[in-house]
Symmetry: C2
């Protein structure tokens, strides 16, 4: 394997080279402190400024007003699948509504049922999770605790158009784990947005949650402190020892996105080019390749496809590896292949993947 592999993994995903270089240096000694980032106290001035900058970068990138709190949590989306209903259903007049549109939203829906009565307002299972609903036409009770959906289905490669959320009366909650900060969206339409880091934000081990402050009033008293979102807002994400390193890297990534890339519009242009290039290459292969998503809902972040044959898919994984391309294995639940085009995946890497696809098709298909 050549030095530096091109990482198309579904997550943990690629990180920008400049961030990796800064992180490497920080492992031995951070600039100005003489201390390893791994030994820095979470109560230090240094870490307070890391938290503040990470928050400020996200606030700036999304154009979030002070109506929103930004917190950094542990436990990933899987913990939030449980804590969101714990926090937001007890005082609501009606049960929350869930859109079930793929592997991850189905998990969220199933876990919510262990905590609360909940309704499934739309279920894509009968389409084999190849399509998405129009959020604007869903029949959501205005008194519902909230409407929950997953903005990008990482496994199947389906993505909602984030501009198309409409004006739903119930609080809108989105798991944006795999497309957060990949392009601009109407952040003020949401009551809560969450995303774990290991796609577009940093290493595994930290999850960003953006919460409209007025929603915090709906949280019942008596929850364990660590599961009550107010705890993390009140303590500025420093209630118990946070994952200092993961938040540090996340701060560097958001700084890169804000200042090196130039914000979400610039990121969007790059991401559109990348996904257009790859889908065009796959489409040009005709019947030799099947893309999982129906065309209208193709994800810019995760391209889930197959040569229609396990042996061929494996052969392509091996052929790609010879071009230093890795991470193409599809999720175990659907098999096949998946190329994830997260923010830090470069256009050059996508170009290499397209060349490898064409080369492979000529020889094997």
């Amino acid at each position: 394997m050549k030095f530096n592999a091109l990482n198309f993994s579904g997550g943990p995903g690629a990180l920008p080279e400049t961030v990796l270089a800064q992180t490497r240096d920080a492992i031995v000694a951070l600039p100005d402190t003489g201390m390893s980032v791994l030994g820095m106290s979470h109560r230090s001035e240094w870490f307070r400024s890391v938290l503040e900058e990470a928050e400020m970068n996200i606030r700036h990138l999304l154009g979030l007003s002070s109506d929103y709190a930004i917190t950094f949590l542990q436990g990933g989306s899987s913990l939030l699948f449980a804590t969101i209903p714990m926090n937001f259903t007890a005082r609501a007049a009606a049960a929350p509504e869930y859109v079930t549109s793929g592997y991850w939203s189905a998990k969220a829906t199933a876990e919510a049922a262990k905590v609360t009565k909940r309704n499934i307002v739309w279920d894509g299972k009968i389409t084999g999770y190849r399509q998405l609903p129009d959020l604007r036409t869903l029949d959501v009770a205005p008194s519902a605790a909230y409407l929950h959906y997953v903005s990008n289905e990482t496994v199947e490669g389906l993505q909602f158009d984030p501009c198309d959320v409409g004006d739903i009366a119930a609080p809108l909650i989105a798991d944006m784990s795999s497309d957060f900060l990949s392009k601009p969206f109407r952040s003020d339409a949401y009551s809560m947005i969450y995303a774990h880091a290991q796609k577009n934000l940093g290493p595994a081990g930290v999850t960003v949650a953006v919460i409209r402050r007025s929603l915090l009033d709906r949280i019942p008293d008596g929850l364990p402190a660590i599961l009550d979102f107010r705890t993390h807002v009140l303590h500025s994400s420093n209630y118990n020892t946070p994952p200092v390193f993961a938040i540090y890297v996340l701060m560097l990534v958001t700084r890169w996105l804000r200042f090196d890339i130039g914000g979400l519009h610039a990121m969007q242009r790059i991401n559109e080019e990348k996904s257009k290039r790859l889908y065009a290459t796959l489409d040009a292969l005709g019947d030799a390749v099947t893309i999982h998503a129906d065309p209208r809902w193709r994800s810019q972040m995760n391209v889930s496809f197959t040569f229609g044959d396990k042996r061929l898919d494996q052969a392509f994984i091996a052929a790609a590896r010879d071009h230093s391309i890795v991470g193409l294995e599809g999720h175990r639940s659907v098999g096949g292949l998946r190329a994830s085009l997260y923010n830090a995946v470069t256009e050059e890497a996508v170009e290499s993947l397209c060349l490898a696809l064409n080369e492979f098709a000529v020889q094997h298909v």
Copy 2:
């Protein structure tokens, strides 16, 4: 500040230099993979072997039989304060019993009350958390769900003798966050042991939980998957995306402890020397210094003390910084000074601290 500061922080704490050097290299590319450790998939063969080695090292260091499962969790002790009663009280005949002997065990006791009825079997508050009970003489109902205690009170600097646990009929559960793997102990006396990494094990963001398998039968069905300990045992700590980086560093630290240091008896000798040296220095300063813990319960890991005057304590922190010594601020709940002597704090670092103390005492006290 000189390059490399001597870190006496209460946590995140110092890590071994050799581990930092390997970690630094892995940020850009792991040996044999050409990939950054931050981009490695949690479903890769590489990560499976990291999890296996981390588990094997801990199993070997503690002499644990296959009766015990070892898991790597997120959320720190604070999440376990809630999930332990969620998992182990529903099917028990009697309420769990809690020893309240300092800041952290008081937190555990308070959080448990949000989940279950629980009894306080011993409370050290009236001694100002300067003493500990004899676990062998506590009046614990044999049918109690469990007895919970904190083996080393990080804030106050009190430590139980881990050989003195007796034979309690109820399952024994210990939060060993700040003295885990610092010396040998009778691991088979415990039903559950847990410790977050950022003292003796690695960076913040991962917590080790050792659970006797027979205890898993007591877990009620219907808990959210992420909060049910069986999920993490069944999925070998790879249910949702684990904190890959933190577990990788933890694996390197346990490898260092097992092979470079030579195990827990060797670690114990070093830790005994370090704490003996520091306590002797402080004792020799006579009335100028007050150590928080009563002598019998002095911790080998956290030495909590004060010059009796906020101004003097601050002056010592400044003087120590001139010797590249950092992390001496006491916990905000008790103030004063605290020197933490975790595994990776070297005897040379302790020697520097003792010299700084003597130098300071001559000039200021």
